[in-house]
């Protein structure tokens, strides 16, 4: 795929920052969506934006695993390499 983990990481952060309208620099891998100010509707926005950004489909089962930036990176990475 030629997509390194660090590149995925920075793209995921950009997506989350855009949806939550916050500065990318404030996002660490451990920050949960709730800690960053997002609710369940913001989480739906993040899922949809990730699907567009990486041209993937995120199943409901995978979606349920995404609670933070780090878990979003893990799920995207898993889908891209499977």
């Amino acid at each position: 795929m030629g997509t390194g983990v660090t590149e995925i990481e920075s793209r995921v952060k950009k997506v989350i920052a855009n949806i939550l309208m916050i500065d990318e620099g404030t996002i660490s891998n451990n920050s949960t969506i709730a800690e960053l100010g997002g609710d369940s509707l913001a989480a739906l926005g993040i899922l949809s934006a990730l699907e567009q950004e990486f041209d993937i489909r995120i199943s409901d089962a995978d979606a349920a695993k995404i609670s933070s930036c780090g878990t979003a990176i893990e799920v995207v990475n898993k889908i891209l390499t499977s």
Binding site: D39, S40, L41, L44, L47, S48, R57, D60, A63
Partner: protein, 411 residues
């Protein structure tokens, strides 16, 4: 002095029946109306099932020109309204139409016609936009068509409170008659949400069942393996009437509406609030002035989403305490899908039919009990029982809650 309000006519159109008789026969046989969607292309969508109405042909009921001026949701409303008016013998009523009004509920109104116009504009250009788009799309189009057809010149408006729309419409109609502002109200709800963008948008909410390979078994309210709601379409229309007027003209009397409670969560657009659901039910019970232990059936909102069914179960238990375990609770959404702004009317009609025929509508597809949903959900088969008083719940997006109470009328 407050007036008493009775139901004197009913009409319905759903995926399991296009009139009261076929609908009730299907409810009693526990039939699912869910199938692969045929009206629109679902190739790119994760959800390919819905409770779609097959072979709907309104030309049996109305001339072609009238039909072309109605979106599908208005056609559904008109179909149910014609049946309800006939059932109530309203068309031969000669007591004057000044105090007959219409309040309907709809969630997405003329969304199908809206999307068609948008597609025509964006793909073909301005010249191709249907000049009747606005009259087709506006949410109060259906209520207008009903008033115009029957000559009802009383109060007329439309309520849009998502999945609670029809219950709010019925509740407000009840208040209108109870307080003397109208003698008769044609009320209920209609929705036709199976349009391309609407369906895609529901998919994006991740609230729909993904059981594409088992359409009929997909909608499983209160079961442990429930995985979301299934969209439906249709309409339910009821004629509410001031009791003395109904008796005077010898109209059929199905039930009395005695209580209505409504409020808002003021909390979250899509996440239910336990406390406010409890309060809506308590408000309705207080309005009805009955002992809550008299209620012996509950028509649940029962959407088959994880959160709704769990929250509604806890709410019922906190209203009725230990008594909750003795009250049968069922969801006709297991059969007709979630018809959004029509659902409150369709649920209430099923309840009234249950009262009339001494049968409780079942919750179908109930095979795996959920420890968190531990009430009596009338699993899979209708049950013989005498309903004296019933509660009907609707809890919609936008935090809107409404509960209605009906009682059997003893002559």
């Amino acid at each position: 002095m407050k007036k008493r309000v009775v139901v004197t006519g009913m009409g319905v159109i759903t995926a399991i029946g296009v009139d009261i008789k076929s609908f009730w026969d299907s409810v009693l046989s526990g039939k699912s109306g869910v199938k692969r969607i045929r009206r629109i292309d679902t190739t790119d969508l994760p959800v390919k099932i819905a409770a779609e109405i097959d072979n709907f042909d309104p030309s049996d009921l109305l001339p072609g020109e009238k039909i072309s001026r109605m979106d599908l949701f208005s056609q559904f409303a008109m179909t149910a309204a014609l049946e309800a008016a006939r059932d109530s013998r309203l068309e031969s009523d000669e007591m004057g139409k000044e105090k007959i009004g219409v309040i309907l509920g709809t969630s997405v109104g003329g969304i199908y016609s809206h999307e068609k116009a948008a597609k025509d504009l964006f793909t073909k250009g301005y010249k191709h936009v249907n000049p009747l788009t606005i009259p087709l799309v506006i949410n109060n189009a259906a209520a207008f068509h009903l008033a115009a057809h029957f000559g009802f010149i009383g109060p007329n408006f439309t309520i849009t409170t998502a999945c609670t729309s029809a219950s709010n419409a019925i509740g407000e109609s009840y208040k209108m008659i109870k307080n003397g502002y109208a003698d008769v109200m044609m009320t209920g709800g209609a929705d036709a949400p199976l349009s391309p963008v609407c369906l895609a948008a529901w998919c994006k909410l991740r609230a729909l069942s993904l059981q594409n390979d088992d359409p009929e078994g997909s909608c499983k309210p209160f079961s442990l393996n429930r995985d979301g709601l299934v969209l439906g379409e249709g309409a339910g229309v009821l004629i509410l009437e001031e009791m003395d007027r109904a008796i005077k003209r010898n109209a059929p009397i199905y039930a009395e509406i005695t209580g209505y409670g409504n409020n808002n969560d003021a909390f979250h657009l899509t996440h239910p609030s336990l406390d406010q659901e409890v309060k809506a039910m308590e408000m309705a019970i207080e309005d009805a002035g009955i002992d809550k232990n008299e209620i012996n059936y509950i028509s649940a909102h029962g959407t088959a989403t994880k959160i709704n069914d769990r929250t509604e179960t806890i709410a019922i238990k906190s209203v009725f305490g230990e008594g909750a375990y003795k009250i049968p609770v069922s969801s006709v959404k297991s059969m007709v899908g979630h018809t959004l702004g029509a659902s409150g009317a369709i649920g209430l009609i099923a309840t009234i039919l249950g009262m009339k025929y001494n049968r409780l509508p079942p919750t179908i597809n109930y095979h795996v009990p959920d420890p968190e949903c531990d009430l009596d959900y009338v699993p899979n088969k209708p049950r013989e029982a005498n309903i004296n008083a019933a509660l009907s719940n609707c809890f919609g997006f936008g935090g809107v809650n409404a509960s209605l109470i009906i009682r059997k009328v003893v002559n």
